[in-house]
Amino acid sequence: MNRATGGTARRMKNKDEDTESVSPQIIHIPEKPPFLPHLQPTVKVHAAVIEPKDANTLVRKLNQIAPLENLRHVKRVQKKCIGEGKLQLCLLLSTVENDGEVDALPYEILELVKSYQLSTYITKVCKYAATSKEEWDEQCKLWPTSYHPPTYNISGITGFTEEESQSVFNFMRHAIDLATSCVGQVVNAAVIVDPSTKQVIASACDGVISSASPANEVSKEGSCSDYPENLNSSNLENQQTSLLDSSIGEFERVISNVACLHPWRWAVQSLSPSCGCWHPLRHAAIVAIEHSSARDRQLFPDYKLNGEDSIKEDCTLSPSKRQKIMDSDFQSNDRSSESVRPYLCTGCDIYLAWEPCAMCAMALVHQRVRRIFFSFPNSNAGALGSVHRLQGERSLNHHYAVFRVVLPEEVLRNKVVDAKIAGCG
């Protein structure tokens, strides 16, 4: 079962079918927004019909004076068949700026337009490079582009084996169970997992309001390797039933305390506490990161910043060799975890009930999480595809892969969530 490659198509299909029994799915949330092939974003450009004999000279000159910096996938020349075997060539001059006034073209291009007596017009080209053959076919109907099929190795990022999928679903159930473990309210929950050992490193619930943190814990080493399988699911089922029974208005109230959904609302949260520790920024992911670093300090207490012991020895190796050793150590299960201290959450996955907000999503970049799995999208403030899309911000120094996990028992609940979000949009 390899269900993690698709985009919107499968997801939409799923929505249509969700009255039937739907198998759990892992849906990859890509780095750029998914578009239906015929609805790809476009940009306006200046173009002109040219004489075929001038094509080479003009393309060369234009590539020098006005290279297509942000449209590298777009071809400079479009060939059109205009009947009776006659070809017409159109040349892309530059992108349109300043309301498309031809006079606003750069001076050098204006000179070319004059000397070759070109009559310019405005047309559209696709803004982003095609990521599939289908997208490319549609793009070329507007203006020809180039298409490079992805060559990177996607194993370990997408492509889940049956066993991996089951493990993902179990950890997600665990996260949702935590999120719904308080009576009468739902919060966000985060579970950080080392996938190489299937061990829960840390888990936490929102701690924005004091009463909402029943399950915050640092896992004790070795005690939870089979934790998700042993979960008592009755809690989840009870919540499920009560959520489904409740009206949409009721549901809205129930999830109004999910911190990442309403990060600006902390001061007027419905369960305003007078006691205990509340904190406007203690979202589940932030607290889970805090727990995982506490665990790190606890497991490797003697680690020195200046790197005495093992780090110093390693430094005599070449960086690439050191890299390989650290990787293999980290991945092998039979070694005791004491042998190598992982850097932050490198190699770890995090499971969240709701798509994280910008603060949490960026915190997970900082902490170098490898993959993020969430169940419910967050159209209010989500930063992994809904409002922002941090996995597509190329300037960041670390990138994780993002997946939405749809569990079958939540299909109905998804509907309620969708209805709720649509209702306030």
């Binding site: 990060p263 001061a267 007027v268 200046n306 790197g307 890299q323 932050l344 960026m362 300037s395």
Partner: protein
């Protein structure tokens, strides 16, 4: 009384002191102070290496100090929110996306920063989380999406100088070197 501009520099100097303290402790040298009614009420500097928690940025340190302090004084969330709306942040480097989001959630009044943060900046460089452009209907001041005024370039060269000296001495806690990683992809 010192002019508005003098005051801005005075506060940024204090933030730079914090950054220097970070550098002396082998941390990425970024520091900040939070000012309420013209008085410094909190300061912070990076503690990511010490805590092994990469989210412990200067801003988070200062914010946590304030929340704890105000909570100890028995303030309610609403009162804390009101206090934050009077606060100004002076930080040596543009807040990252995480910190910019946090500052917006808290609803601080204004932020002044030194150098831009081309890789992670959340106040103009990568995202602009300080501008409030909410399309969602919001109810009531305390729960609505908030922006804050942002002023860049205050003593930026001093901030850059500190960062440069840090990266020249080498981040002892940096992950594995980047180059082999790229080769493996």
């Amino acid at each position: 009384m010192a002019s508005y501009e003098d005051q801005t520099f005075e506060f940024m100097k204090l933030a730079l002191e914090q950054a220097k303290d970070a550098l002396a402790n082998l941390e990425v040298p970024v520091g900040c102070v939070i000012v309420e009614d013209g008085e410094v009420v909190a300061s912070g500097r990076n503690r990511t290496n010490e805590t092994r928690n990469a989210t412990r940025h200067a801003e988070m340190e200062a914010i946590d100090f304030l929340v704890e302090q105000w909570q100890k004084n028995g303030l309610s969330p609403l009162e804390v929110s009101e206090k934050f709306s009077n606060c100004m942040l002076y930080v040596t480097c543009e807040p990252c996306i995480m910190c910019a989001a946090a500052l917006s959630y808290l609803g601080i009044k204004e932020a002044y920063y030194g150098c831009a943060n081309d890789k992670f900046g959340g106040c103009g460089s990568i995202l602009s989380l300080h501008t409030s452009c909410s399309q969602l209907p919001t109810s009531g001041f305390a729960s609505s999406k908030k922006g804050f005024k942002c002023t860049a370039g205050i003593m930026a060269s001093e901030a850059v100088y500190l960062l440069r000296s840090f990266y020249e001495q080498g981040n002892p806690n940096a992950p594995k070197p980047h180059r082999p990683l790229k080769q493996r992809v």
